[in-house]
Assembly symmetry: C2
Homo-oligomer: 105 residues x 2
């Protein structure tokens, strides 16, 4: 399994709404994530809008590409895009992946 | 299990050394982490020095307090402190914990 961590930047004025939307992620979107290999997937939010994603997946590049191809993901990403700062395209294209520098099972 | 995510800020000019030190964490320190409940623990580093920690633990407050009490951790934290920015005390006292806003098993 690859352990993946990425960051994005949520607009500070839209944090509450962002949180609320993530309490009601569409079941079809959750199913798509599971089926394309997004496991133990969490999003964490800092008060200044820093969003941190963590997930485990057999192959992150593959998991990304399989999600990108799905219509439900395109709809979701279009709805999420206005919540983010500094994005040219869709949020799933703007994720900044971080290097893992330490791990302990 | 609690899923915990925290951030710290590493001095950009010391990133390489920070990474190097984390390839050789003392075995005694690793054992202490495991024994005090730090599981599936990763550190991720962004190029600007943003350090992100992720771990799973039965009780984070308890895991922190048990580590704080150990001599090996005090030694480790003293050696790590100069790598960080904006810390008044030890790194393990300066961790900023983030709110989990989404999770998918």
């Amino acid at each position: 399994m690859e352990r993946v961590c990425f960051t994005l930047q949520v607009r500070p004025e839209r944090l509450d709404e962002y949180k609320q939307r993530h309490q009601g992620v569409w079941p079809e979107m959750l199913r798509a994530l599971s089926e394309t290999g997004w496991h133990n997937y969490s999003l964490f939010l800092r008060e200044d809008g820093l969003l941190i994603g963590y997930l485990e997946t057999p192959d992150f590049q593959n998991a990304l590409e399989r999600m990108e191809a799905l219509e439900v993901n395109q709809r979701w990403q279009r709805e999420m895009a206005p919540f983010f700062k500094g994005l040219a395209g869709r949020p799933d294209e703007g994720m900044m992946r971080l290097e893992e520098v330490f791990h302990l099972d």
